[in-house]
């Protein structure tokens, strides 16, 4: 049976090409789990899954893991799914928030071939960006927004092109700040949670995940005999359905952009020139708080 497992794909991608290639998946929610599973089904056989959350009832409706996994860590539930399709895979699971243990994340990423960022927190994406740049490990970022009516996929290859902060700068995400009259309830302790949790259909999220999986595959196969043709630009915008605000005009709208590096980026191009005060001078002159 084992010999037949990859018969239908090995003429396109022989799974042996992935030997020794470790893929770290950060966030295995409704998007990340499909992303990881698609790669496992393409023959990738070494995963590290990171997610602090357990499957709760509201996750089930758009997660490949169903009611039988309710209450399990998402990493463990997705591990079972991966092994169910690719029994040769090595899957390590870690249930922690990457913002809580940056040092441990560094050790997990250090020997990785690729990181998949299925994160929904902006500080976490920026933290990962810096750590992966230092480790010189490529990262694929995928996100849905506007209720998963649209989404984006892009990659950061250290030393080549923009980093995550450059993308964020180019996309001018601050441009929409002052365009609403909706009041915020400052007394609502759940405000942050409500504002950072987004509704969306599983099928809309999965399309973005599949695009991300394909970009991951292209990245992993670069330089091998199974190398796939490249794609235009470095940023993919996908629209699932027409939107009233005009952002997406038709179903299944795909746009490729080339996002340039930000020449003044403080993260990937930190200023190397000397300033009048060195770090040691600054520390020596710090004023103690009275």
């Amino acid at each position: 049976m084992d010999k037949l497992l990859f018969t239908r794909i090995q003429e396109i991608v022989n799974p042996n090409v992935f030997c020794g290639k470790k893929v770290v998946v950060i966030g295995v929610g409704s998007g990340g789990r499909k992303w990881a599973l698609s790669l496992a089904m393409a023959g990738v056989s070494w995963f590290v899954l990171i997610d602090p959350d357990k499957l709760s009832i509201e996750n089930i409706i758009r997660h490949i893991c169903g009611l039988k996994d309710l209450g399990c860590y998402k990493t463990e539930a997705v591990k079972k799914q991966i092994l169910n399709h690719n029994p040769h895979a090595k899957v390590d699971t870690h249930n922690f928030d990457i913002m809580d243990d940056e040092e441990f994340l560094k050790t997990l990423i250090a020997d990785a071939s690729l990181v998949l960022a299925g994160l929904d927190s902006e500080p976490a994406r920026h933290a990962l960006n810096r750590i992966a740049l230092l480790a010189k490990v490529p990262v694929i970022y995928a996100t849905t927004f506007h209720r998963a009516f649209c989404g984006e996929v892009f990659r950061v290859i250290p030393g080549k092109g923009p980093c995550y902060a450059c993308y964020a700068h180019f996309l001018e995400r601050t441009g929409v700040v002052e365009q609403t009259t909706k009041a915020i309830d400052y007394n609502d302790p759940q405000m942050d949670e409500k504002l950072s949790t987004s509704p969306g259909l599983g099928m809309d999220i999965e399309i973005i995940s599949l695009i991300a999986a394909k970009i991951s595959l292209i990245t992993l196969l670069e330089g091998t005999k199974y190398e796939m043709p490249s794609y235009p630009g470095n940023y993919i915008f996908w629209g699932n359905r027409p939107m009233e605000n005009g952002l997406v005009s038709q179903y299944f709208e795909c746009r490729f952009w080339h996002v340039p590096r930000n020449e003044n980026c403080l993260i990937c191009q930190p200023e190397k020139e000397e300033w009048e005060q060195s770090y040691d001078d600054i520390i020596a002159n710090l004023v103690k708080d009275e």
Binding site: F145, I184, D192
Partner: protein, 144 residues
């Protein structure tokens, strides 16, 4: 270990933060709390009232934005757009929304940038003192 002492990136970022602050607010002084937290302290007079501000670096800077507090004067009880009323922490952008789409960008935002946002807040506050209306719109939510 503090963010600025962790590695070469943290050290060079602190140098850059100091350079940026000295360019726009050279009277602000960099101070350190007993737990190692760094903050800038200084005064600003956007219109006629003088405010003493603290711009504090969070533990996981630069991934989270520096926080700005009005240390004096004591603001009126009904002052809007405060995230922490007793500490008088300014709401400079929508934190939940920022986490989702990234209002704050560590690749281009320094304490000096936050000071600029704080001055905008103070200008709004001065208008609010007179008109009791906040003159700019609220940040959008994900449903917008």
């Amino acid at each position: 270990m503090a963010w600025y002492d962790k590695d070469s990136d943290g050290k060079s970022r602190l140098v850059l933060e100091c350079k940026a602050m000295k360019e726009v607010a050279k009277d602000f002084v960099l101070k350190i709390k007993s737990d190692g937290t760094l903050f800038w302290k200084g005064s600003i007079t956007p219109v006629e009232n003088c405010f003493i501000l603290e711009i504090q670096y969070p533990a996981n800077f630069p991934f989270d934005a520096p926080e700005v507090y009005v240390k004096s004067p004591k603001l009126p009880e009904d002052t809007p757009h405060l995230l922490d009323r007793p500490k008088q922490k300014l709401c400079l952008f929508h934190s939940g929304y920022a986490k989702k789409v990234g209002i704050y960008n560590p690749g281009k935002t320094t304490a000096a940038t936050m000071l600029g946002h704080a001055i905008n807040w103070l200008l709004c506050f001065e208008v609010w003192l007179v008109l009791k209306t906040w003159p700019i719109r609220e940040s959008p939510t994900d449903d917008d």
